[in-house]
Every structure is written in C-alpha cells, then in structure tokens.
C-alpha cells in the first residue's frame, strides 16, 4: 500500500506529468502554440487551428461520409460525438499531448480509448489523409461495437480484439488491397517469414502484422461472407477469446482457418516466382546488414554511393564503397542531438554537382531544416529553415549547384515544390495548391524539374503520376498517365532518361522513360528495367548510365542493389504524349455541402475524466489505507488535473490526521510547462534513493520545466509547506514552515532495446535547498549528479557505465541509501545510507537467448529476448567517515516481458576490493536496466 500511495502522491505532486518530467526520458516539446478551434458536424467535433481550416472542413466531411459507410458495415451507430483532432503536419502531430508517448514518424494517426479521441496529421496527401481517417474510424466503431455488445449482455470486463484483427480489419475496410500488401506477403512467403495467426504476437505492431491482418480479413470475407465481421461482433459476448468467438461464429476452429489462409497464399503467390525474382537473385546486393535505403551517386565518384543506413537503432548517412571496403559515416545523423529525424523513408539525399557537399533535410527544433553538409570535413556548411515551410523532403541540386528544389509543406499542410537560391536564400514555390507534389529532381540541363504528384484525375483516388515543370514557361506537363503510382523519378546524368519506381505492373519495379520530340509534339517512351518479386524503389543511374542502383525489399528489410542495364538497346517502349497538365483536376469537397454549413466554435477547455480509481489495502504498520485518484484533462491533453484523496486509519492517527488530499494542475500547451498544486499529506516519504521519513505536510508547490529539445531540459520547483517530520531512523522530530526549491538540468539521448538503454548517454545534475522560512533556519543543501553512458560494442551488446553522487549538508541533511538490484547489487535493499553517497556501476550487456520454447503438459510457453549481463558495482553511503568502498560483481539475466516488466535476476559476490565474499547473493527485480 505504501507504494500505491506513493504513486498517488507522485501523480499529485508531480511538477508535471508525462515523460518529460520523470528523472530521465526524452521530451515532447511544444515548439508551436496554436489557437485551437472546434468545428461541429453531425457526429464529429473537429479540433483544428486557424491555418488548417480547409483541412478541418475536409476531415469533417470525410469523417461523416465514412461514418455512414461504417454504420452499414458494423450494423451499428456510435451514439457519442467523436472528437477528431487534426494536424497539418506530422511535425505538429508529434507534439500532441493527447497521449504522453513520443510518436514515431511511422504513426499515421491513432485512436485513443479513454475519451475516444482520434488524432491524425496530414502527410501531404489528402486522399491518404482520408484513408487514414477511415482506418481510425474503423477503430472507433470496433471499440464501440464491442463495448456495446458486452454492455448489452452485462459483461463488465472488456474483451479486446487481437491487434492483428483490429488493424487488419481497419486496413481491409479503409482501402483496397495494394502493392505494398502484395510486397509484404510475397516476401514473407518466399523468405519463409510468414507468421501464422497463432504466432502473430511475434510481429505485434509491425507493418507485416498490419498486412497479414488485412490479408486474413480479406480471406475471412471470401470464405465466410462479407458480413462475417458483423457476426463476429454480434457474438462477442459469447466467447472469452477471439478464437472462441471465431469458432462459434463460423463453425471453424481458427487453426483450420489459419491453415487454409496460408494454403491460399501459397497457391496465389508462389507461381509468381516463374516470372520474377527476389532482388538478391536479380541484382548484386551492395549492402547487407541493417536497413539501407535511398542510394545517391556523386558525379566523378564511380566507386561509391551515399545512402541512409540504420543498423544501430538510428539513421546515419554513409558512403559505401563498391569495392567492398568499410562504409564511411558522413553524417552521424539521429545519434546527434541536433537531428531528431532524418526522415529516411520519405526523403532522399542529394549530392552537389561538384560532388563536395550533401543536401538533406532533418527535423530539428520543431521544424524541418535543409542542411548542406561538407562531405570531406563532415561538417555542416549551411542550415536553412523557412518561416513558411514546416516540413521539407527530397532536396535536389540545380546543375549549377546554386539552387535547390525540394518538396515542402506549409503550416496549412499544402505540399508543393519549392526552389531556393543558396546565395540569397530566396524561396519560391512552383505552385500553391492542394495537390501532393513530391520527390522533385532537377534535370542536368537545368531547364526542367521532374516530380511525382497526385495532380491528375486519378489523384483523388490516391494515384501518383509523373510531371515535368518547365522553368522557362512555368508550365506543368503530364509525363505519365494511368491508375498506378509512379514515384521517385531521377534523371540520368546525361539527361536522356528518367528512371522511376512504379507499381503499374502490380509490384513496384523500376522503369525508365525517355523523351522524344516529334511532329506531333513531345512524347515519352517507357520501358521496364526490373522484374522484382517484392519491390524495387529509389532508382538512380550511375554516371555512365550502365548501372542502376535501387533499394530492394527482401526478408522484411531494405538493402541497396546494383543492376547492370542497357538503356540503349531496342527493348519495347510504351509511348504516351506529354501534355500540359490540367490546372485543377479535382477539388477537395466535390459532392459535399459547403463547408460553411459546419459550425465553428472557439476551443473551450472542458475537462473530462481520464482515470478514476480507488484502492483499499492493509499495512501491518499503518493499518488500513484507502484512496481514490482522479485525473481530468481537456480534449487536447494540454491541461491536466490530478486529484488524490486517501486516508490512513492507524491507531496513532485520528480521522483528520490520516487524511491525505492533493490537487495538481499541469499546463503542457506551450514549450514552458507549468505546474502547481496544493496538498495536505500525512505519510511516509522518500526520495528516489533516500530514506523513508514520516511527515505531515500542508502547502503548495509550483514548478517550471523548459525543454530545449527532445533531449535537454531545465526544470525547477518551489514548494512551501508546514511540516511535522518524524525521522524515525535517527530518532529526531522536527517541525517548521519549509521552503524547498531545486533546479536541475537533464539530458537524455539514449537508445533503447526492450530491456534498457544500449547506446547514447543521459545525465542529470542539480541542486536544491530546504529552509525554514519563518526562522530562517537552513535545513539542508543538496547537490546531485547522475551520469550514464552506453557504449555500443556491437549491434546488440554494449558496455554501460553509471556514475552518481549525492551530498546533503546542513542542520537536517537528507539521507541517501544504496543496496539492491537497482543500485549496489549483492547488498540488501537500501541497507547502506548516509548524507553522502557515491555509486559506480559497470555492466556488459549482451544477447543470451532470443527465443526459448518450453513445453508444458498444457501447452508450450514461448519466452523471448533473454539478455545477459556481467557487472561490477562499487559505492558507499556515509555521513562523516567514508569508510571503505563496497563492491560486488556478478552475472545477471534479463527477460523482457513487455513495457516496464523486465525480469531481472542478478547473482553477485561482494568484495571490498581486497577480498571476495564466498557467498553468492541473488537479487530479483522487475524493471529496466539503468
């Protein structure tokens, strides 16, 4: 119960909630402040800021359209109003406080279940925004349908659907089966990585899970009828597991269905091997480990290529040699705190025409910047950012090296091709409209820019074609036409060809197009260069035009391949006329009511419940304790209130004496996070490494936290309280009006695996003091420092070092304790204490067993991700006399069970660094490595 109440108080007294206020952890920084508004449609409250009003109107209209569609599919109406929060850029979306988690770039939107909110960004493409919205609304309906069915049958425990089913169904009902689905499933089949339904947990949350889930839902509908899903939901109350519900609904055990699905996939996909090959069979693999993508060739450098690489958990830019030498790191990338993301999936690199510099975009300080990087010195030459451009992708140099084109998104989310003059920084866009113009590439003669866009009739359905922008005439010409996706166009060095990736023949392959001017005008002849079974992307030709480099998808990852090509041969070409593109091929709200019919309201900070919970427990020392905790927040999560009420009924306390009451408010809507609160508490308290002290405290606090970036922040807090303190461990009672303040600086750039950090560093330093402000008596001054560094030794092993110290001086010093699994192993929990403390931990972390399948009479249990540790600890806590170092060394094993549940077992032998204790002491603990 102590720990429970401690959690309550931490929540109530927190200077702010969320990861940014824990002792370590990366920050979610509110770089941009918005004037939020609300738009009302029949079923939705759309939250938006002024710059994205068009997006909000679109979102409201699309949401209503899909609501009607999903009503039919689910045979169900969601009765509540659905809050829909839209962001015009993923960069803004990442700042949301709706959920505390840091959002990776791969997250295209989410549905949160406490308040049923949907939050999602515009990624540049309105049709894609609509697809994601549809996807999220499937989640809204799924959750509501299950909840209502269970409620109808008075079943109180929620029975969630397995993730592969909810995501698979959302994919199935929000979009057509597309090339990426084929790519993932084919690859999984041919690489023997297809995961059965029973084993789906192993790929939980991955893209493969999404696509397998979607494939399963397709097969389910084919086998049992389109209404099978409605039947499953209707029967949700009848079974406790999905397998049970599926079996009683379809009459078929899920294992039988699973086998049938896999057989169907084999029959459907395996014959394709006769017509096409995996990338490794077709071309020469130029990279092998990790994730490698977006090759780039420098003029005059025929022996190497540049690309993004991620083999350590973060993205770097490297130069790989074609003669097999070691890859050279050109940009440390996301390992450097300045780069929050290099966007490797959505943007390309560009080498300047003289081969001396690289251009790339990276997210930093709340927006994308365009960096020019000196390849030789590996230093930054230019850092360009633009007031009107939030997101930047795919830079391309003009042939004179003095200008760059790139794809940029403004504050409203409109994505266009921009041209920037590197000499004067002058920026211009070639258009300013709703079409998603992307991946520009400047022609070698400097006269044209080729790009991919949805600015044609089929673009409304999400298809991209290629376009040419003529700089002289300022005309946009349609280079390709058809209901397929043409992407990543690149000119050959000589300007005769453009190579690009397209799914026009089902799978993404590489094509080449050449332009020819005839009597009937200009025309484009297209030919296919690859027949890849899975997918080929990011093509670029060598300077001599005889070798093609591309990213190929195989075995669940991307590598870079090299293929010899003969573009001068007489292969068949398909010809199309190059024509002036239509100025406005489609508009956003065709067939809808005018957006003016949607009511707009200013945003009101209405608080609603997040959590309400209660707990009663027994403590042998303090008697019975009971408590409730209530958390409230507004729709955007920017304002949060925590209220705690608990009572300790011990023999030594009267009713009011045992009453604990605390209220805290956090405001997270701006870069400076503010918290304040009031409290009246009577309990035992302890700092993280401190001694427990019994204290009655009544007062208030205010806290400020300012994150400079994702990695660094400074924070301070002041509390004023009336205290009665019983320091039982030293038999001392104190009372007074105490003012406590501290200031600290924290950095965290660590990179994690499920058991804990593996690379990077984190540190926190600070000081605080406590004084009795009525008597001006100084209780104590405390200094603290904690430094942790993780040196990666191999992709999955590391040497970890922690050095920490604390010192408290004054009339009433704080005491610190060490001992136990998390501090000094081999010694009892918090057994060594004093007003000064030092601790050094060294640990070698390495993989032990990746998967352990244990057979039991009732079935198999599958354990994964066992990791090992060798450690050496040293430390002490003391008052006046340091005494001697205490140490321990030993071995440990960790098993990641999910989240904070990392099982840790350490066997340690003590040492005083002169001799070694003969006994091995075992520490058992749940928690991440330090």
């Amino acid at each position: 119960m102590r720990s429970l109440l401690a959690i309550f108080y931490l929540a109530a007294l927190a200077t702010a909630a969320g990861a940014q206020f824990t002792s370590f952890g990366k920050n979610k920084v509110q770089y941009a402040e918005f004037e939020w508004q609300r738009m009302e449609s029949e079923h939705f409250d759309v939250y938006f800021f002024a710059e994205e009003e068009q997006l909000a109107a679109y979102a409201a209209q699309m949401a209503e359209r899909h609501f009607v569609d999903l009503e039919k599919k689910f045979a169900h109406t969601v009765q509540r109003r659905v809050p829909l929060v839209v962001y015009s850029s993923h960069i803004y979306f990442e700042q949301t406080n709706i959920i505390p988690n840091l959002l990776p770039e791969g997250v295209a939107g989410f549905t949160e279940y406490l308040k049923g909110r949907v939050a999602m960004p515009l990624s540049g493409s309105y049709p894609d925004f609509e697809r994601v919205l549809h996807h999220e609304l499937v989640h809204v309906f799924t959750f509501d349908r299950i909840a209502r069915v269970l409620e109808r049958h008075e079943i109180l425990d929620f029975r969630p659907a397995p993730l592969w089913f909810t995501e698979g169904l959302a994919e199935y009902w929000s979009s057509e089966w597309a090339s990426f689905g084929d790519m993932v499933i084919r690859d999984a089949l041919f690489a023997r990585r297809l995961v059965s339904i029973e084993q789906m947990l192993y790929i939980n949350g991955t893209y493969q899970m999404y696509k397998e889930g979607e494939s399963i839902c397709h097969f389910m509908a084919d086998r049992h009828g389109e209404d099978i899903f409605e039947q499953l939901f209707e029967n949700w109350w009848r079974g406790e597991t999905f397998e049970e519900i599926f079996a009683l609904t379809t009459g078929e055990p899920i294992k039988t269905f699973d086998k049938a699905w896999q057989y169907y996939l084999s029959k459907h996909y395996l014959p394709d091997i006769a017509q096409s090959d995996p990338p490794s069979e077709l071309a020469k693999a130029r990279t092998e480990t990790g994730f490698n993508i977006k090759p780039e060739i420098a003029r005059g450098d025929s022996n190497a290529f540049y690309h993004f690489r991620n083999d350590q958990g973060y993205t770097q830019i490297v130069r790989s040699s074609l003669d097999g030498g070691e890859a050279e790191i050109v940009v440390e990338g996301e390992r450097l705190p300045i780069f929050e993301s290099l966007h490797p999936l959505s943007t390309r690199l560009a080498v300047s025409p003289d081969g001396k510099s690289l251009a790339f975009s990276a997210k930093s300080r709340g927006r994308d910047h365009l960096y020019i990087w000196d390849i030789e010195t590996k230093r930054q030459m230019r850092d360009l950012s633009f007031e009107e451009v939030v997101a930047i992708e795919s830079p391309s140099f003009a042939p004179n090296g003095m200008r760059l084109s790139f794809s940029g998104s403004d504050q409203g989310g409109l994505t266009d091709i921009y041209l920037v003059d590197l000499q004067d920084g002058c920026l211009e866009s070639i258009s300013h409209d709703l079409y998603h113009d992307r991946q520009p590439d400047w022609s070698p003669d400097g006269q044209r820019i080729v790009f991919s866009s949805d600015r044609w009739a089929g673009g409304r359905r999400g298809y991209y074609n290629l376009f040419l922008y003529d700089l002289a005439s300022e005309q946009i010409l349609a280079l390709s036409q058809g209901e397929h996706n043409d992407a990543q166009p690149r000119w050959s060095f000589g300007g005769e060809h453009i190579v690009f990736s397209s799914d026009r023949d089902t799978m993404y392959n590489i094509y080449a197009v050449r332009l020819e001017r005839g009597p009937e005008g200009e025309r484009a002849g297209t030919r296919r260069l690859t027949r890849v079974l899975t997918g080929a992307f990011d093509p670029v030709l060598s300077e001599d035009g005889e070798r093609l480099f591309f990213s190929g998808f195989q075995s669940g990852g991307f590598q870079i391949y090299e293929l010899e090509v003969a573009l001068a041969d007489s292969a068949e070409e398909r010809w199309q006329a190059v024509e002036v593109a239509r100025a406005e091929p489609w508009s956003l709200l065709e067939g809808f009511h005018g957006e003016s019919q949607l009511a707009r309201r200013p945003y009101e900070r209405k608080m609603s419940l997040d959590i309400a919970q209660s707990q009663i427990s027994q403590d042998p020392e303090f008697g019975t304790s009971g408590g409730i905790q209530v958390a409230l927040s507004d729709v955007l999560g920017n304002d949060q209130y925590y209220f705690v009420l608990s009572h300790i009924s011990g023999s030594r306390t009267g009713f009011f004496d045992g009453l604990n009451l605390a209220l805290s408010r956090l405001h997270l809507g701006q870069q400076l996070n503010i918290s304040w609160g009031v409290f009246r508490l009577n309990d035992r308290f302890s700092s993280r490494f401190g001694r427990f002290v019994r204290e009655k405290r009544t007062g208030g606090h205010i806290g400020l936290s300012y994150p400079f970036s994702r990695h660094d922040r400074i924070e301070t807090r002041l509390s004023l309280r009336r205290s009665e303190i019983d320091r039982q461990f030293e038999g001392r009672r104190l009372s007074g009006w105490l003012a406590n303040n501290f200031i600290s600086y924290t950095h965290d750039s660590s990179i994690w695996v499920p058991t804990g950090p593996l690379e990077g560093k984190r540190y926190s330093v600070g000081m605080g003091q406590t004084v009795d402000f009525k008597t001006s008596r100084r209780f104590n001054i405390t200094l603290f420092g904690d430094y942790r560094h993780y040196f990666r030794l191999s992709p999955r092993s590391a040497y970890a070092l922690r050095v920490m110290g604390r010192r408290s001086t004054g009339d009433v010093p704080e005491f610190f304790s060490i001992g136990g699994s998390w501090t000094l192993r081999g010694y009892p929990w918090r057994s060594i204490w004093g007003s000064k403390m030092v601790l050094i931990n060294q640990e070698l972390r390495f993989p032990l067993v990746d998967r352990l399948l244990v057979g039991f009479p009732f079935g198999n249990m599958d354990f994964g991700r066992f990791r090992g540790a060798l450690f050496l600890d040293a430390g002490n806590a003391w008052n006046d006399d340091f005494g001697e170092w205490r140490g321990a060394f030993g071995v440990g094993v960790r098993l990641a069970l999910g989240g904070v549940f990392v099982f840790r077992l350490d066997g340690a032998r003590r040492t005083d660094f002169h001799s070694v204790d003969g006994d091995t002491r075992w520490d058992f603990f749940f928690g991440w490595d330090f």
Binding site: T77, E151, R152, H153, E154, D227, R238, G251
Partner: protein, 358 residues
C-alpha cells in the same frame, strides 16, 4: 437444474393457442387488423433489468419481455402492472418464444440446450441439448428448431422427443418459417431450403448467392427472404423459383413484415423500405436518423418501425408517409411487437414501452 429458479412468480391467463410465436415478423395466425392504428398514446413504460433479448411477447393479458441478464419480466399488458420476474443462471441465447403451453428458451453454457417451460408455472417440462439461438416454429404438436451448425430437428412439443432430423450442410444465422406443409430455412452460404414438415425430406433448394440474413417470410404462394448484401428475394414457395429480386445494398433486418401487398424491411442504411410484394419495386422508403436493426411490424394500414435513433415510427403502409412518431429514451435494436390493440418496443436503455389507444 442448470437454469436454476431464482424467483418464482405466477403467470395468469395465458390461454390462447398460437400457430407461430417467435421473434416478430409475419405470422399467419395473427389478424393484421388487430393491431392499433396511430396516433397512439403511451399506455405505460417500465424499466427492465437489462437490454431486451427479442421483442415483447403479448400473450393473453400478459406482456412478457426476456432480457439479456437473462430474466423474464411479466407485466399486465393493459396497465403495465409488474407481475413478476424470473431469473436464470445461464446466458440466454436468442429470444424467448411462446409456443402452445410452453415458453421456450435457448441457453448457452456447458449444458447448452433448449429449455421448454410450462408457461403457467415456469417449471421445466423438458430439455433438448444443443445451441439454439434462432427463433423456432411450431405447428400442432410439432416444434421445429434449427441449430447454428445447420441441423434442423423436429421435436414433439409435449415431451421434446425427436421426430426427425435434417442437415442443411451449412451454418444458419436466421430462424425458420413454416408453410402449410413445409419448413423453410436459409443458410449463411445462401441456400434457401424447403423441407417437408412431416419427415424433414428436402423438397427444394435454391442458391441465392449470399448468406441469408432475414428469416424467410411465408405468405402462401410466395416466400420472401433477404441476403447479407441487402438483396431482397421473392421465390415461389412450392418450387423455390425466384420471382423477383431487389437490391437495397445494406444488411436487412432479421424480420420482414408483409401487409396489404407491401413487403417492409429495415436496413442498416438507416432506411425503412416498402417493396411491392408482387414485383419487388421499391414503393417507398423512409429515412430515420440511425441504423435500423429492429424488425418492423405491420397492421392493416400501418408499419411500425424503430431505429437506433431512438424513435418508434408509424408509417402509412401504402405510402410510407410518417403518421406518428415517439421519442424513446434510447436506441432500439429489438423487434417491434404488435399485439391485440397494442404496440410494444424495448429500448437499449432498458425501458419497455407499450402503446395503444385509450
């Protein structure tokens, strides 16, 4: 007793012999003219302990409502006076049904089965094992039930003794209909099947392409049903020959209703449709504000339909014009029921409403 008696109450005056009493829909034994015509007044409303399972059953002076808890609530149909409540331990599966002297209830759990209770004393008469979640049908001493696995069985109504058994070859999601000499059933594979009532021999089978989701509605020469995709189909009841089809494009209500040459069906596209029973042409459509899952009912001149928008609507059978509506306290999924002079409907907010004319 698996469904142990929790509270015993006495029921009075349940005397009438019924030809078919299942979940609402067409039944040949009821006089269409007996239903009330709008405007109606709310006669009474009562709270029930859980959302309804099936529609309210009007029997003599009783109004009976089974809930998902499961409990059987009994009210005086005229005054709404609460006569009692019977609770069961096992989960009920599908609506409760009155047939002759029996009240029949499908139960789930380890001992899943069809329980036949004396409708006066609620004491168990017999029990037949299996999962029976679909409305059943009775004729004379023969009770015909269908299990989810597609097995149709005829039981003797007095003691539950099996008379014959037939396998449809596929699963069934909807209840049965009885003709003069035939049993009609539809499968999720889309087969509409006619079996002889006497011995279960298959008379004809018609593949309709998609899973059947509306209980067949027997109307003499014709038989009506609807598929999961919202295709309404009329076939000849003697041969299964398709007479007409009409695609409405959305999941239909489980029960269809027929009156004055108009076939009425509700859909999850929020609409109630009136089709010409002879041609299938859409004569009218009425838009509600919510998904229609509640099976509609008809009287001589009126359609009663409810929607998840929380309204009970009375529409003119001929034209679909709105005659009257009543705002309930919540969405309606259970079928509307029409009795002699009364209309009953239960909302998902656990309120049973009975309307009539004072």
């Amino acid at each position: 007793m698996r469904g142990g008696l929790v509270l015993l109450v006495l029921f009075f005056g349940c005397g009438e012999k019924v030809f078919y009493l299942g979940e609402q829909g067409f039944h040949a034994g009821r006089d269409l003219a007996a239903g009330p015509e709008p405007p109606l007044q709310l006669l009474w409303e009562r709270n029930i302990d859980a959302p309804p399972s099936g529609g309210v059953l009007f029997a003599g002076s009783l109004a009976l409502q089974l809930t998902t808890s499961p409990s059987l609530h009994a009210f005086d149909r005229h005054s709404g006076a609460r006569l009692g409540k019977q609770g069961y331990d096992e989960m009920a599966c599908g609506p409760g049904v009155l047939a002759g002297e029996l009240f029949l209830l499908g139960e789930l759990g380890d001992g899943a089965g069809l329980r036949a209770l004396d409708r006066r004393t609620l004491k168990e008469r017999w029990r037949h094992p299996g999962t029976y979640c679909q409305p059943l049908a009775a004729r004379g001493d023969t009770l015909v039930v269908v299990g989810e696995q597609g097995v149709i069985q005829a039981l003797h109504i007095v003691d539950g003794r099996p008379l014959w058994r037939a396998e449809l070859g596929d699963r069934v999601r909807i209840g049965l209909a009885l003709g003069e000499d035939w049993v009609f059933a539809g499968t999720i594979a889309g087969d509409l099947v006619a079996l002889a009532l006497a011995d279960g021999a298959e008379h004809w089978r018609r593949a309709l392409g998609e899973g059947l989701r509306s209980r067949p509605l027997f109307a003499g020469e014709f038989l009506y049903t609807a598929t999961a995709a919202g295709r309404i189909v009329a076939v000849r009841s003697d041969s299964g020959q398709v007479v007409w089809e009409q695609s409405l494009g959305a999941l239909p209500t489980e029960g269809l209703a027929l009156g004055a040459g108009v076939l009425v069906v509700g859909c999850v596209d929020r609409q109630l449709y009136g089709l010409d029973a002879e041609t299938g042409a859409v004569r009218w459509r009425f838009a509600t504000e919510g998904v229609v899952r509640s099976s509609p009912q008809v009287t001589a001149q009126t359609v009663y339909g409810a929607s998840s928008d929380g309204h009970l609507y009375a529409l003119e059978l001929e034209s679909g014009h709105l005659l009257w509506k009543y705002r309930l306290d919540g969405p309606v999924l259970a079928p509307v029921a029409v009795g002699d002079g009364v209309v009953g409907v239960a909302s998902e907010k656990r309120t049973l409403y009975v309307f009539g004319r004072r």
